[in-house]
Symmetry: C2
Subunit: 320 residues, 2 copies
């Protein structure tokens, strides 16, 4: 580690693991670790786990750390460092996460919504570097989003902006976990995608997917669908194409509303690769206002699994 | 006219009429006029009409005018004063409207998209005065929109932001004039609304609407639907309720994306009044993310027919 370089800690608080990284100002991770979230224990246990992980990360030698950045699910008040009702973290209500970590480690601590942190990561270190404005979509358990306007994160009235997962593409569509119907998350969120694919397989028993999971439908994951598609399975290809089409339709609404035409796609399901991205771009261009078509661009995220840690660490160095 | 007050001219460029007003800094219209747009003549004729109207308005006595503000359909580059592809103004392509008017009248001239100008009008003089952020929806031939964030108009990358009419509520819905399907404009735009109501009347021959139009379906207007609803006609009521529901669904997507929860409804169809607004608010609250529900508000526009003129005039005095 160079003496002239500056370091921050990035924390990616997930439902299963809390991931940590010591990251340079330029986005290089010099040390990484993780602990179990133990989400079922409620906020006290989770925060204990986070503190334990941070201590272990800091212990080995005394690197000067400028601050801690945390990406957390839920609605985050960046100013106060509070986290509200994070999905997948039961019992949280409203927790003063930033304050609690800052008190223990005596380091400036910044908290941001995880999808927003990923967008900031892409803006500073990744695929968004050369764009003034873009929308980042994170395809995972849910469908998250972060809106960058003029190189700044757009937070909305109360820090809840960017809920792209809850753009409706069909008011009569499938019920979404949020209570509404036909949200894009109800098509593209991991569990919905798996459920829909299982349904579809009933009429496609010859699909390579069935072979890959050895008839055990509980083994069905996005990765399996991706592998089957690469093996040329027509049904798996259709699943990915349909997913791309639906996401593209949602992005057309976003583009028409915001006059923003660059979209960056990240998260696990984005591993569907070029086939997914091409179909997103195609349906976006089919549906968006004609004047926007020439500018529309769909790009893969660059930071992959490290977006959370890098984006969170950048909260310490950059005021976005 | 008081000597200490400042005056600007507001111009509302519509497909049928160009409306003019001399307006004080506080939004009081002291003189009004209008000319035919003669849109079919193309941009040269329309600009000639605008100049004629402006000359007549300025002639009677020599009031000192600070500048001219123009609200125009189409995509407007505020900086350059150019107007691009305005719907309902055939043959325009790209026209340097601001420059042409400024050259003739030697007055600072500002051009803004008409829906944006209406939103600015509501922000400064109307229903949006007490809100930091809101979205204005103008229900007319099309469904226009203007987004106010932190007391500023949000323009997007190229000045085209706010196309709320082209938020899709059903990807398999009716074809919209923009080429897409299921845009809210394809339900709530005047001609679509009239067309759908005509269709519906086939099964509701007992509706008061049929009586009011004396069986002449060409006489069907939003005003007639409104009158029938006020007379207690169940079908007319259902039309307005459905319209409100669909608009509310679109606004839920907007609210989830932007974390903006105040909506101001203007334009002719907004004359459907409380029944329309209540149904917009109800369906918005049904579909929006739970955390946003308590803040959601749907308000009627205050400036009515004068929003265009007042909003345009305010471009001269206020940098929004």
């Amino acid at each position: 580690m160079s003496k002239s370089e500056k370091y921050a800690i990035g924390v990616d608080l997930g439902g299963t693991y809390i991931k940590f990284g010591i990251v340079t100002e330029n986005g290089k991770i010099v040390r990484k670790s993780f602990v179990d979230t133990k989400a079922e224990g409620g906020p006290d246990v989770v925060i204990k786990q986070m503190k334990k992980g941070l201590k272990e990360l800091l212990d080995p030698d005394k690197i000067k750390i400028e601050g801690i950045g945390i990406g957390s699910p839920g609605i985050v008040s960046k100013k106060k460092g509070t986290v509200e009702n994070p999905p997948n973290l039961p019992g949280w209500g409203k927790v003063q996460l930033g304050h609690l970590i800052e008190k223990t480690f005596k380091l400036p601590t910044f908290v941001e919504n995880d999808a927003n942190a990923a967008a900031i990561g892409e803006l500073i270190f990744g695929a968004g570097k050369n764009y003034k404005s873009f929308v980042m979509i994170t395809l995972g358990t849910g469908v998250g989003g972060g809106i960058i306007l003029n190189k700044k994160l757009f937070r909305g009235d109360f820090g809840a902006a960017g809920e792209i997962g809850h753009i409706t593409i069909d008011i009569n569509g499938p019920k979404c976990g949020c209570g509404s119907y036909g949200c894009i998350e109800a098509y593209a969120g991991n569990s919905y995608l798996i459920q829909n694919t299982k349904e579809g397989l009933k009429n496609h028993q010859d699909s390579k997917i069935v072979e890959l999971i050895s008839d055990d439908f509980n083994a069905l994951t996005p990765k399996v669908i991706s592998t089957a598609a690469e093996l040329g399975d027509p049904f798996a290809n259709e699943v990915i194409k349909n997913l791309g089409r639906n996401i593209g339709f949602a992005l057309a609404s976003v583009s028409n509303l915001l006059d923003v035409s660059t979209f960056i796609i990240g998260g696990g399901v984005a591993g569907f690769g070029k086939l997914l991205l091409d179909n997103i771009e195609m349906s976006l261009k089919q549906r968006v206002l004609k004047s926007l078509v020439p500018r529309c661009k769909v790009l893969p995220a660059k930071l992959k699994n490290e977006a959370g840690i890098k984006g969170a660490s950048s909260l310490v160095f950059y005021s976005i």
